[in-house]
Symmetry: C2
Subunit: 428 residues, 2 copies
């Protein structure tokens, strides 16, 4: 006789429907692999009657996800509604309190409330997992928590928002500007309801904060992630970076330094020939570095029905197989609150300035940089059909506070037009 | 009070020393992650007195790995000796019989005897794991068995022998021939004691057979892997493939077809712009494809002390954490003996022929191909300083039996010099 694992699924959007489809289509395969029948007892969603292309009539129904979470006929609550607060949080808390295991795809919920939810789950002796919350179908939570368990992690980096990478690579491929591609993404349905979650780096920042907590044994701390979106990146930046052998990516980096935990989700230049530099379109890539393993690179679809549902099923199958790990890889009570690094570690930077066409303008800028201890590796001045002169500077390795001081001092020179753009060059 | 997991480690070569170093250096981290103290009770190796750069004096010693495997003071036997038979097999069997969990890096042992060992382990209710046996530090066994557990796997492919990839990419980079680079690999210590394990594709074939068993729920069947080494690849092949936008890789492919399980480890052409095409040097890359997840690509060091030891530690930590899975992901008794596919699935092929400089030679070759139902996509005839004319042909999608029939019929034309080379073009 085969045991049964009974699910309650809250949320029948793209991911929820994908999960239902896999459970219906691959029932026998899932049983062969886990030793359990995986069944859906009941579901919850905004509208009961909507045609979702999948038959859910035989499952129980709850209008209220909290009521679903505590039903006696479910063993596991699968939270696929999204949102960092409101029903997703209430239902997750209710499920834990009722002794149910929880699987979620909700990066915002975990990034903002992961520590308290993990504590609650461990106190109640249930399992809370979220493979689908980071990088879609790529099993990166598992690779980091389990596959690299013997490593002191030295750095986690990656492109974790497919929409941003689509915009940046399409700008280069088509010669269109940021605004045109942003609008195209809206038409294609690639943007979150609040597009700033995508292009502002917030969504990817949530993911990075989760990986950092696992990697470094620290409490998840999304507020400490330095965020910068891609809105200020121009086609010129992409082309000039390309001239120098770089690509521009919205890159997440987390590393533990002597000055504390560094977490950044910002546009960076990476070598064009590196795996990250070669990443085109909406694909995600995560780079994990450990003291023994060196560098591991994982690549795959970061979103979409099938890939995200695949990751949800990974967690469901793990729990069905008896694989039960603490939410962040070690008991939540042991996780340390890491001091955030006061500034990003030193790196070379790409600077784009527009100079007024005045005698000595460039010399004034160079003086400000020099006064702040910044040495220049390369500089290019471009043709200027009008009065303003675009100038591109690549610095040698520079401390971020020095760079910030220089940027703050530039307006007083009177030769700089508009806001300078400073992008970090990351050696990854 | 923390539980202790007591190891017996057999084999103190590169990998064994790497494992000892991690356990010594990261003791506290391993305990934080697993909840257990991981300790080495005893070791075994060929020579007790050799200086290995790591202090093993405090561990018990056994000359005989079988005696180590059954010691009362070990919970887990870590087999890092290598070899498909002899002491590695005897000690693994003894450990299982004595109720010890086993972690091994031994691809040959598992590829040839994995089924019987898995049956024995499951009968004895112990766990037998081997993450380090495939693709070094890349957690590919875990990704396939657990991370993609919700997928029907459609194809597994990869470059899994770093030495072969080093030779092929260095041929292109330096313009040296195969023999010169083979000798260089010998000097650098990149070759197995029997180099045919590397350049003949056997080592990589072992790895492919293990992945196929997990992917398709079939009994591991190394004998059914179609093997072809890289010895016949010339610099000309690499350059001509490059002209057409391809790279040559020793590529493993496993897929379930209507005609049975197809397993190949052969030199193939892959698109130069694909992740596999871009893979340089000794790095490994595995591509996993599933019906829901699409394509996942994993990249990392396939060999070496740190990466391989990292993979061994992944298994040790899993077992310390209570993660216990059947050897091939589902109970060994359920695994089916898959009928091997009678031939590789249809694909385009690259053919390299040398024609005698006779009137009508090319027409005769084209006729033989046409008579066997093979249509030509592209053909190039190269300059010929001497009497023999190198000709390169790319076919449209061709059934392998048709190709074999054509290749068998070519000598009778009297216009072909030497042995034609046929390389599959894999769309991956």
């Amino acid at each position: 006789m085969t045991d049964t694992l009974r699910l309650g699924i809250a949320g029948l959007g793209t991911v929820g429907v994908g999960v239902v489809k896999i459970i219906q289509r691959q029932a026998d395969l899932l049983t062969a692999r886990t030793g359990k029948r995986i069944e859906i007892s009941a579901v919850s969603a905004r509208s009961r009657d909507k045609d979702r292309g999948v038959n859910t009539a035989k499952y129980g129904w709850e209008d209220d996800p909290v009521a679903l979470a505590v039903r006696d006929d479910i063993d596991m609550f699968v939270e696929l509604m999204g949102g960092s607060d409101g029903p997703a949080k209430a239902a997750t808390e209710a499920a834990i309190a009722a002794g149910k295991d929880v699987v979620t795809a909700n990066k915002a919920l975990l990034a903002l409330h992961g520590q308290e939810l993990a504590v609650a789950a461990e106190a109640r002796n249930v399992t809370l997992r979220y493979e689908a919350a980071v990088a879609g179908g790529i099993p990166v939570i598992k690779a980091l928590t389990e596959g690299l368990a013997g490593n002191e992690i030295t750095r986690v980096a990656g492109v974790m928002n497919g929409t941003c990478n689509y915009i940046l690579t399409q700008m280069e491929a088509t010669g269109q500007g940021y605004n045109a591609l942003f609008e195209e993404c809206g038409r294609l349905g690639y943007l979150e309801a609040d597009p700033n979650l995508d292009v502002g780096g917030i969504d990817a920042g949530h993911k990075l904060a989760l990986l950092a907590a696992i990697a470094f044994g620290t409490r998840v701390d999304f507020d400490a992630v330095a965020l910068q979106g891609i809105q200020s990146i121009t086609l010129q930046d992409i082309r000039r970076a390309g001239d120098m052998g770089y690509k521009i990516k919205l890159l997440g980096v987390a590393q533990m330094t002597g000055r504390g935990l560094e977490q950044r989700m910002t546009p960076c230049l990476v070598p064009a020939s590196s795996p990250l530099g070669q990443l085109e379109g909406g694909t995600n890539m995560v780079v994990l570095e450990g003291d023994s393993v060196g560098q591991i690179v994982l690549r795959g679809a970061g979103a979409g029905e099938g890939p995200t549902a695949s990751a949800v099923l990974s967690d469901i199958c793990d729990i069905a197989r008896g694989i039960r790990l603490p939410t962040f890889g070690q008991p939540a009570a042991h996780l340390k609150a890491a001091p955030p690094a006061s500034a990003a570690s030193p790196a070379p930077y790409y600077l784009r300035l527009t100079l007024k066409d005045k005698p000595g303008a460039l010399a004034k800028v160079a003086t400000v940089l020099g006064d702040n201890g910044i040495s220049i590796d390369r500089m290019r001045q471009y043709d200027h059909p009008d009065q303003d002169v675009p100038v591109l500077i690549v610095t040698h390795v520079t401390a971020r506070p020095s760079l910030d001081a220089a940027l703050a001092a530039l307006p007083a020179t009177g030769v700089v037009e508009g806001e300078p753009v400073a992008l970090r060059i990351e050696d990854v």
